[in-house]
């Protein structure tokens, strides 16, 4: 919702990088250091109005308020799960909405943010995919998912695994990562942020060159024909080529790459899959993250039973692939992986 009395035609300051703020203050005839002061108010303090930027001269605040608004927006709805997970619904303009999941866990709290309203990628197992594509989020709308929830300061990790394919909205995603990690922004360590993709190779390459954040790739099966049935993107960017591209980058240091693997009963959970996965990932410092499948309406897929997920993990581990099983969180509020959608 817009700040009181500020129509949405005013440009939001929230979501601007230091470079953009510097250009703005120059244009407005304000001293150069004002850009850093504004960034500080936007990304480090809990104010919500330009008028509250008290170290700016009153005249400067008035001038800014004529053309700009602060630009954050509060969630319009929250659902709480029995396990502590919370799902927030945010407006994204024109009766469009996005979802964000806050997932607390012992010593950490992870925020799962959306990067698009809906998605164009059409994965067979995903609720967001069923919703179709309604638009890209701006960097401000992405970062707002962190700054406008009450648990902002408890969040230790951010994952771009909500609605949308981040590398289909690369420019705004990179900008949001800059705001989250820059010393003038939120100064989060890039090691606490993971961006998840289905493997849009050109976007992934640019991300790996420009950002230090971790990468997660939705793999789901190493076999071409099977992956084409599950994920149409395989026809444009086959997963073998995605892995080949990843091998050109350095993951031996602190930056990590992981492969997400939703387990479908009788489909991608056989010994052949273990063998092929081990071959595909051989020698790559990485982790495979096995995920339980939570069926969506009308899906022809069912999830692998827990016992077989454990066996699959053990078989991959025995082949030298570091493999973990992700805990399902927020199931009762449809906040688990692949369940986010604002489709009614």
């Amino acid at each position: 919702m817009p700040e009181t009395g500020k129509p949405n035609v005013l440009k939001p300051l929230f979501g601007m990088t230091l470079e953009e703020l510097s250009a703005l203050v120059k244009e407005e005839g304000l001293p150069g250091f004002t850009a850093r002061q504004i960034a500080d108010w936007l990304y480090r303090k809990e104010i919500r109005e330009i008028s509250e930027m008290t170290n700016l001269p009153v005249r400067a605040r008035e001038m800014l308020s004529e053309k700009y608004r602060f630009g954050t927006s509060e969630p319009v709805k929250v659902s709480a799960s029995a396990d502590g997970t919370r799902k927030y619904l945010f407006g994204a303009g024109n009766m469009k909405f996005i979802e964000t999941a806050y997932i607390p866990d012992r010593d950490r709290a992870t925020l799962c943010v959306s990067s698009q309203v809906g998605c164009k990628m059409g994965c067979l197992f995903c609720m967001t995919g069923k919703q179709g594509f309604q638009g890209n989020l701006t960097a401000g709308e992405i970062v707002n998912q962190l700054c406008s929830i009450p648990e902002w300061h408890q969040v230790t990790n951010i994952v771009y695994m909500g609605m949308g394919e981040p590398f289909d909205n690369l420019e705004q995603v990179l900008k949001s990562l800059e705001i989250l990690t820059a010393p003038w922004g939120m100064a989060m360590s890039p090691r606490r942020i993971t961006v998840s993709t289905i493997g849009i190779i050109p976007g992934m390459r640019e991300f790996l060159e420009k950002s230090q954040c971790h990468l997660a790739v939705s793999l789901h099966t190493p076999f071409d024909a099977e992956r084409r049935n599950l994920m149409p993107v395989q026809n444009v960017y086959p997963v073998q080529e995605v892995v080949d591209e990843i091998r050109r980058h350095d993951f031996s240091g602190q930056r990590r790459v992981s492969f997400e693997y939703i387990m479908f009963d009788g489909l991608n959970d056989t010994p052949d899959h273990v063998k092929e996965l081990a071959r595909m990932l051989h020698g790559l410092p990485c982790r495979v993250n096995l995920i339980r499948f939570h069926p969506i309406p009308g899906t022809p897929l069912t999830g692998t039973p827990d016992q077989r997920i454990t066996e699959f993990r053990d078989a991959l581990t025995a082949k030298g692939v570091f493999t973990t099983i992700r805990a399902s969180r927020g199931l009762d509020i449809q906040a688990a992986c692949g369940l986010l959608s604002t489709m009614n």
């Binding site: 594509f133 050109p202 084409r228 049935n229 026809n235």
Partner: protein, 221 residues
């Protein structure tokens, strides 16, 4: 696709750029590479502008490469593409993509320009016994209908969502699929078009008993 810097590309000289319907164009340039029917190329007019992907609509042996595209108002590339004239130059990447495994006897379902890869498959003689279902908002967007009628006869089925009365089904492709008597769950189904069309058509096919393993899709994302 983000930048031309890390993909291999050449310049092609436009041979023809025909407006074939409102906002729809057929762009031609000489073929200087081999490709497989169903593949795409990245196109551009300016190295500073992000490339966009287009399915090749011509046959593997044709002397020219055909690109079927619609101009998007406010789009970054298509307004430039639609202004191209014979003799103008165009940036073209190597062909790539694997929507190439279309089996004979399949059902090819397209909406709008999603027909492009199927035209390539048909013109390359790789889709014997195929049925084509093409959806369009108005009859003028039944691209290549004369060729398809002549080649496929009764296996060329059309759906027009906005206009009733012709020898087509009045409604969307999804509505057609829901009531199609010729549906055979054992056949392979290939879908091409927008995300919305692909997802909804896939849902309808699955609800009518087509195993998801018999459905493959290319989304124009």
């Amino acid at each position: 696709m983000k930048s031309w810097a890390d993909i291999s590309w050449t310049r092609a000289v436009v041979s023809e750029n025909l407006k074939i319907a409102e906002s729809a164009y057929l762009l031609k340039f000489p073929r200087t590479f081999d490709f497989q029917a169903g593949q795409v190329v990245a196109l551009g007019t300016d190295p500073d502008l992000a490339p966009r992907l287009y399915s090749i609509a011509s046959g593997e042996q044709d002397p020219f490469v055909d690109i079927l595209f619609t101009e998007k108002s406010g789009g970054s590339l298509t307004p430039m593409l639609s202004r191209l004239k014979p003799g103008d130059s165009l940036m073209v990447s190597k062909p790539f993509g694997t929507f190439t495994k279309i089996q004979p006897g399949s059902v090819l379902v397209a909406a709008g320009t999603g027909l492009a890869p199927f035209m390539s498959v048909l013109k390359s003689g790789k889709a014997r016994g195929a049925t084509v279902i093409h959806g369009a908002s108005y009859p003028e967007f039944f691209y290549f209908d004369e060729y398809l009628e002549e080649t496929l006869k009764e296996k060329y089925l059309r759906c027009c969502s906005r206009v009733a009365g012709g020898d087509w089904f009045h409604g969307r492709v999804t509505a057609f699929i829901e009531q199609w008597k010729g549906l055979d769950p054992g056949r392979k189904h290939y879908l091409c078009g927008s995300a919305e069309m692909v997802v909804q058509t896939r849902d309808r096919l699955i609800s009518r008993g087509v195993p998801f393993k018999n459905i493959d899709a290319e989304i124009f994302f």
